[in-house]
């Protein structure tokens, strides 16, 4: 039921096979950079309304995967389907209009614009769904209200991370890709971050979360997918995945 509401602005293509309840389907995706195979035969689905965790040691290919979903890269082979539509190879701005937003691991703001103007870009250019997004509510959610009019180049890294999130939310996406939003946070800040993810879920959005901070990973997500050297090595609930031998080997072996 949730999928219908989220995706009904996008026409379903009859040629695309993905589960009725899935919002995103990554289908046998390979990505090659020169001689290096960064992603190998990767397949999984993201169910509507869930929070899916993406885990793996450094260099496993998580950010590459996010880049492919968001349209920054095209896969060397394989397909990416979103809401019943094949989005493989679509440019990043079209992917955004269809309803996928992402944050960057290292914040990439528009340095000469203020925080408000930063998210205004997303509102004005993010497609029909983005029009009319209320900035104040977004700023309240990420706790950036006091710095609305500060130029991005004058913001501290902590605030920039919040700005990343605000900007991703501002285009009113169906699916939001979060790349290590908890990195560098103190233990005291973690409950707030968990709260934000919960709020996003309540908005009816689907989340894919890349995270190294275990507490966030375990408590915020419904399911986890583990990637190592570009391949999926485990998939399941946090409990199942943490006990998986292959996962333990990948991290400590």
């Amino acid at each position: 039921m949730a999928v219908q509401v989220l995706c009904d602005t996008i026409p379903r293509s009859r040629k695309v096979t993905m589960s009725e309840t899935a919002v995103l389907s990554v289908d046998r995706v390979n990505k090659r950079f020169g001689g290096i195979l960064a992603l190998q035969d990767l397949s999984f689905e993201v169910q509507a309304g869930e929070v899916l965790g993406l885990m793996g040691p450094n260099g496993a290919g998580k950010t590459t995967l996010l880049n492919i979903i968001a349209g920054t890269y095209s896969p060397s082979s394989g397909r990416v389907n979103f809401c019943g539509r094949d989005i493989t190879g679509l440019p990043a701005h079209k992917v955004c209009h269809l309803g996928i937003a992402r944050t960057y691991q290292i914040p990439q703001p528009f340095t000469s614009l203020s925080a408000r103007q930063n998210i205004l870009v997303a509102t004005k250019y993010g497609g029909k769904k983005a029009a009319g997004m209320e900035h104040d509510k977004i700023f309240d959610l990420v706790n950036l209200s006091e710095q609305k009019d500060t130029l991005a180049r004058d913001l501290a890294t902590v605030s920039l991370k919040r700005l990343e999130l605000a900007r991703a939310l501002a285009s009113n996406p169906t699916l939001i890709l979060l790349d290590e939003i908890a990195a560098g946070s103190t233990d005291a800040e973690l409950p707030r971050i968990l709260g934000i993810i919960e709020e996003i879920r309540k908005m009816g959005k689907t989340v894919v979360l890349v995270e190294h901070v275990m507490k966030v990973m375990v408590e915020a997500v419904d399911r986890i997918i583990v990637i190592d050297k570009g391949e999926k090595i485990a998939e399941g609930t946090p409990g199942e995945v943490m006990k998986d031998e292959k996962v333990i080997a990948a991290y400590f072996g």
Binding site: H93, H97, Q108, F110, S112, S114, Q117, Y125, G126
Partner: protein
Amino acid sequence: MAVRDKMKIPRLTTLTSIAVLVVLALFPVIGIPLNWLNYLFLFFIYLALANMWNLLAGYTGLICLCPHAFVGLAGYTLAIGTWVGVPFQAGLIAGAAVAALFALLISYPVFRMKGIYFAIGTLILPEALKAWFSFWRPVGNEYQGMGAGYSVKGVAGVTLGDTYWLALAIAAASIFLVHIILRARLGLGLTAIRDNENTAASSGVNIFRLKLSSFLIAAFIMGLAGAAYFIFSPRINPVGGFNISWLLLPLMATVIGGEGVEEGPIIGAAVVTFLRFLLADYGAWSLLIQGIILVVVVVVMPQGIAGLLRQVGAYRFPLRLLQAAEGKIPKNLK
């Protein structure tokens, strides 16, 4: 802040601009010396070019080394047009249109090039055009060695006053355009592209389309300014039409005046015109000195005069005055 959120232009700014425009328009009529009009004409042309170069480099982040392609193409279109019966008035618009069409044609390959590749790629265009027009002779049969030139026909009745008003209109249009763009969605998108192209794309900005818009507008206005120049100085040849000065002038004006700020090109164009006036009798040495000034300014004062003024806070007093006049009294004054 370069980009404004609101579309409304404060009434005071509009009134002042109209007043300045009217005063400038009256100059030919009230007996300002011809020499002054001459330099003001050049100032307006340089201003239009500088505004457009600033739109590309300062706001979109495109260091485009091909203004002289647009200027030369427009000039040649105008000139050749007058040889096949197209009056110069239509040739003016046709020239600008040809420049914009050229920009459209090369946009797809050129926007695939990033950074320095884009700079060199755009530099190739005027050089190639210069070579082309050195050998291509569609009408007329007088050869002057390698400098296959054309005179612009039918402009005998055009006075300095006429060209002055034309240039004033073009310059005013360029200022108005930049002003509007900065306050519209396009300005926001261009700034986003300049600051971080990847983030802009993932926020939904169609990079190619916005760069193209910027490029087309700049090509058209630069073409207009170029054609206007060749009405004023009705003789064109490959070296003059595609002269590197057409790149140096707007570049200098933007660097000296200040990049990425609205008043920068105005200040810069004024300085550049004044320099030309000072160095008018020195021929090649004039260009040499301008080159030296460019290098010195970019090393010592890269933010330009406008940037320097902003840093020093020189605008604070007039800005408060302006706000007070518009009825907004700042908290600490009342």
